[in-house]
């Protein structure tokens, strides 16, 4: 089963300023699509529209051939969106933060039993992968900006979603982390997933990478 997100004649106007007009997009399995454009060209707005957050657009969105309105839940169940803000509560530890995200994707994380232990193990593994082993129980507020961003990135391995929409995911991450994340994006595309990304970071050329210019 391959996924496919299509936009037809997408136009977005915010406060009478036209961001883009008549945009046609086809995003399919096995692709990394990089949205490019100068500041203020509507990259974030486009990602918000494509991830179903922003609804004041004109045109049509299709998810696997069906109109977005009718398959919203299915779409959201397969979407992982990371915005400018990491979405990490500073009062909670990385483990607790991830537990909430796990629950939102429909997996039971609290309580006792083997399911809960499995969930906890998955969280620990995900944190280890982003290099946060040993920080599992530190309140996220005491972590650096880059570490908080890594907690958010741990969701990529924690909750398997086919479509990743990442708005500037490389912000505040060190060189080592950038390389690892880049490898992860490619692996995801190779595995049949799909990545939609904006970034100022130069992505290494790859046959999977496609660029779309705005503005």
């Amino acid at each position: 089963m391959s996924l496919c997100l299509q936009a037809r004649q997408l136009s977005c106007e915010r406060d009478d300023r036209s961001l883009f007009k008549g945009l046609d997009l086809d995003i399919r399995s096995g692709e990394i699509v990089r949205i490019e454009g100068p500041n203020g060209s509507g990259k974030t707005s486009l990602l918000k529209i494509l991830s179903g957050q922003l609804r004041d657009y004109e045109g049509e969105l299709f998810w696997n051939g069906a109109a977005m309105q009718s398959v919203r839940e299915h779409f959201l169940a397969n979407l992982l969106y990371l915005g400018h803000a990491p979405g990490i509560k500073s009062g909670l530890s990385p483990l607790e933060n991830l537990a909430w995200y796990q629950a939102l994707s429909g997996e039971s994380s609290g309580g006792q039993g083997s399911g809960a232990q499995e969930g906890e193990q998955q969280r620990l593994d995900a944190l280890e992968q982003v290099g946060l082993a040993g920080f599992e129980d530190v309140p996220a507020g005491q972590l650096s900006a880059g570490q908080q961003r890594r907690v958010a990135l741990a969701r990529l391995t924690l909750t398997p979603r086919a479509l990743w929409v990442l708005d500037e995911p490389f912000t505040a991450i060190d060189r080592h982390g950038v390389a690892a994340l880049e490898r992860q994006l490619i692996r995801h595309a190779q595995a049949g997933g799909c990545v939609l990304v904006t970034t100022h970071h130069e992505l290494a050329a790859s046959s999977l990478l496609r660029r779309i210019a705005l503005g």
Partner: protein, 255 residues
């Protein structure tokens, strides 16, 4: 059906049709308001109990009617805007809010003035006046919320939601305030509940109410038209319209 709704929603179409409708409503407003006030203030008989001071009813009641109606039309416009994304509806809602607040204030003020001869004081926590006061706060909330956003699109949506929430609450508020008032003070003498009002007294009142409504419609049309020009100033048809008028004016001058 859809084509019709969208045609209705097109600012350009609305601008055209409102230009045709507007003069009729202005004429009706002037005619009704002049007739109503002359009749009500000069010819209607004085009240046997309140004397001439009852004549303030001809301002107070229409203003109070309008104050509530405008809130409802504002909420309906907001609903139309949210459901069908019709921008004209939001422009109308935006110009209605200050007008509604003004009407509420007029109703409150005339009520207070009326209170002096009837109650001997400027303010009584009368059920009707209290509801009006709360309505004024609701209006002020909608206006303040619209003004607080930097993005006009968000402001429009937020104001629409608040207007809808408000309109659901208005009957609840009105009912609870009435209940509260009767509990604390058995209604001995309320302003406008007169079971038997002679025809010569209520007919001018009806005319005044209709006049206020015509005035409201005419003013809303006019202000919505200028709001359309303001918001659509970057659109081609507006620029053509403005340029066309400039060209006409120049032609007039050279003639």
């Amino acid at each position: 059906m859809w084509a019709f709704i969208h045609k209705l929603g097109s600012p350009k179409w609305f601008y055209g049709i409102s230009a045709k409708l507007q003069p009729w409503f202005w004429a009706a407003a002037v005619l009704l308001l002049v007739t109503g006030s002359l009749w009500g203030l000069a010819f209607a008989p004085a009240d046997y109990q309140q004397g001439n001071s009852f004549r303030i009813i001809y301002v107070h009641v229409p203003a109070a009617f309008l104050a509530q109606s405008i809130f409802i039309s504002m909420a309906v416009s907001g609903l139309v805007f949210m459901v069908w994304k019709i921008k004209v509806a939001d422009m109308a809602a935006a110009v209605m809010a200050p007008l509604g607040a003004a009407m509420t204030f007029v109703a409150l003020f005339s009520g207070a003035v009326w209170g002096v001869p009837t109650w001997g004081t400027w303010w009584m926590w009368d059920a009707r006046l209290t509801s009006m006061l709360i309505l004024l706060f609701l209006y002020l909330g909608v206006i303040a919320l619209r003004g607080a956003f930097t993005s006009r699109d968000s402001a429009s949506r937020a104001a629409s939601v608040l207007a809808m929430v408000g309109v659901i609450n208005i009957p609840i508020i009105k009912y609870s305030v009435d209940w509260w008032y009767t509990l604390h003070q058995p209604a001995s003498f309320t302003l406008t509940s007169r079971p038997t009002m002679p025809t010569e007294m209520w007919l001018p009142l009806v005319i005044m109410v209709l006049g206020f409504y015509s005035f409201f419609i005419a003013l809303t049309l006019m202000r919505t038209r200028s709001e359309i020009l303001r918001r659509e100033s970057s659109k081609r048809w507006v620029q053509e319209l403005v340029n066309g008028q400039v060209v006409n004016a120049q032609a007039e001058e050279t003639r």
